[in-house]
Symmetry: none
Subunit: 209 residues, 4 copies
DNA sequence: GATGAATGAGCCTTCATTCAT
DNA sequence: AATGAATGAAGGCTCATTCAT
């Protein structure tokens, strides 16, 4: 959306960009359009417009609209995994950590990178096996990340072992996932207190008696 | 692909039908097509074919494709609420009841009326405010149904009051919702044991110490 | 190009036609456009315009532009074979017959169904294996028709057996084919006397000494 | 796909070249692409790739794709005329000469410069008056070359004067032309014996009784 | 001389929707 | 009540061609 800082002759319109830069910019623009308009609603024309280019440029960087979508998904996945890693490293106390996980998830899905989070709900309805595989893999990856972290906390004796780590992970991740889905459909009434409730619940369930 | 086991006077193909009956038949066919092909993938041609009629007939019963989709959603909502009511009435013991809720939810989303459940994931990406409102309302209704039931059980002193009823409801419903979303994207590896784990978890969290 | 002889209410534009009729009309229009503009030059828009319809109608009768082209080819083939059959039946005297073959070929390629003849030159450059196969098969069929006829004349002792029937057939058909190719590129200077020369040549080569 | 055996100072990839040399290289590459993919199928991208250069370079040497095609055609024409001249000079005995003409034509269209021969069938369907004029002129030139040669042989009393030289020329050239067209569409079944038959036919028709 | 980046124009095809019968 | 025929409006994608570097 921002343009040329180096190019100076401001008579023509579109600034020439290095390939890698433009590719990145298209991915960024496509992310927003896909997340807001869905796969089918996001026409190549809209994406091009959002990127400030003409349609054919898209096809110099991506084989097809589907390919572009997949690349956007992969970018979102990396983004989400990185974010989770960062968040899980933030607190020493495990209970605070998993509470923070929910807090930060809220921040991620509503503020920091809302569209990136929305992509997964959108992707789920595309009816393309590669896209579905990407979703499953990502879901698995996030779940594993969280499960391992919880298991470690248990093994270190820092949280209760009453429930299997994968159950707790599934619950935390599942609820988060569900809440982000609610955001997609515009549900905002119950949001805020829900997160606080969940944090209290997490503490309660994990605390060593 | 074949539908109605209850509808009876459909002989073989495209016979004159009473308006109400035909409408019902279109809704039934549309449900399957929408759930399997998404909103955009479900063309009016496919829906008509699935219903064994021609396209214009659709427009004698529904203003537009969008209208048809909304009606299908409303039908799914009724179906789901009724199902929940029935399930919640099944067990006297509350803990068995909420465990059964998960069990039956699994049955509903995978066997009994899978497509009806899938509609919600599909609907979430249509980017139409009326449709989104319908989703939110339905989600609210289900949540309220469950919350009230749990609150009653607490008031009757049958389950622990450690956690607020809306939190427990949100968790049970949220996980269920997430699991049905996983089904949509084809995840089936962890399904079975997950349900058992969840039931144990529910019991554990609700049991009076 | 001509419209409704039965439809009377001349207020709207496009006359409703029976499916078979319209299909035939599209084939006819497409023949002219393909023959004059080539496969790629003949856009579906031009074909639709020539048929006095809108583009989507084409797709109610043919899977694709390629499919339409193939159907036009098949129609041309039938037309050409029928024409040949008729011509070969016209004269009792074999020499007059083969001379007439050239005469009528000229008439066919320049007047009666010029575009049908042109299709083959156009088709030869489409680079599609099915289309090429159709061309080869047609060429074979015409050649066989002529070869058999010549062989019979020889066996009946009506023409000289100095040259093998397939050679004579190949020569007559080959020259005809070449001449129609010349018409395609607009060569018209030498046309007329060439046909007379050829007829004399044929007589000379076939006459029993 | 590799071309120039005569061009020598091309080291590996896209080196600076003298204008004339580069032009020649583009023409050579374009010939192959046009002959194999047709006018419309041969995109400037494919031509550039075959020439090992980028697209804009083409436009430094040729005004447009059409212009390039015309230049390729002119090159093919020179090539073909030269070849014919060489072949007609090979045999002293006229009958052997015209038989050789067919032999060498076969060699030319199938082995030595197949693509150059194919250009003419491709060109015939481009629907551009300049291109069609070029084809006609070339056809005329070849025909004249052959006619003159045959006329000389007749005047020298070496072959029968039963048929007018232009008729014999038209037949020989026409059949050759037709056979190369058959090659274009992939007909290869009857090829080999046909050439032998034709040679026998030529001898028979030209021999002085 | 050569290229990387960009685009206007247009093509084939699909789809929701209407209308005459 | 039902259908066959028709279409306006787009949508994804490609291509010849041009500029700035």
């Amino acid at each position: 959306m921002a343009c040329s800082a180096h190019a100076s002759n401001s008579e023509k319109k579109v600034p020439r960009m290095k390939s890698e830069e433009r590719r990145e910019q298209i991915l960024e623009a496509a992310l927003h359009v896909f997340a807001r308009e869905n796969y089918h609603g996001a026409t190549t024309a809209k994406i091009a417009e959002a990127a400030g280019i003409t349609e054919p440029v898209i096809y110099q960087h991506f084989k097809s609209k589907r390919d572009l979508f997949l690349e956007v998904l992969k970018r979102s996945r990396k983004d989400m995994i990185e974010w989770n890693t960062k968040v899980l490293a933030k607190h020493d106390d495990p209970i605070e950590r998993y509470q923070g996980f929910t807090d930060m998830f809220k921040y991620y899905t509503t503020q920091f990178n809302r569209d990136s989070a929305m992509m997964w709900a959108v992707a789920a309805t595309v009816n393309d096996s590669d896209i579905k595989a990407e979703i499953r893999d990502t879901d698995d990856a996030v779940l594993e990340q969280l499960t391992n972290n919880i298991r470690n906390s248990m093994e270190e004796g820092k949280i209760s072992s009453r429930h299997a780590p994968q159950v707790l992970a599934r619950i935390i991740h599942g609820i988060n996932s569900h809440l982000s889905w609610l955001i997609l459909v515009g549900e905002s009434r119950t949001q805020d207190w829900v997160y606080e409730d969940l944090k209290r619940f997490i503490a309660d369930v994990m605390r060593k008696d």
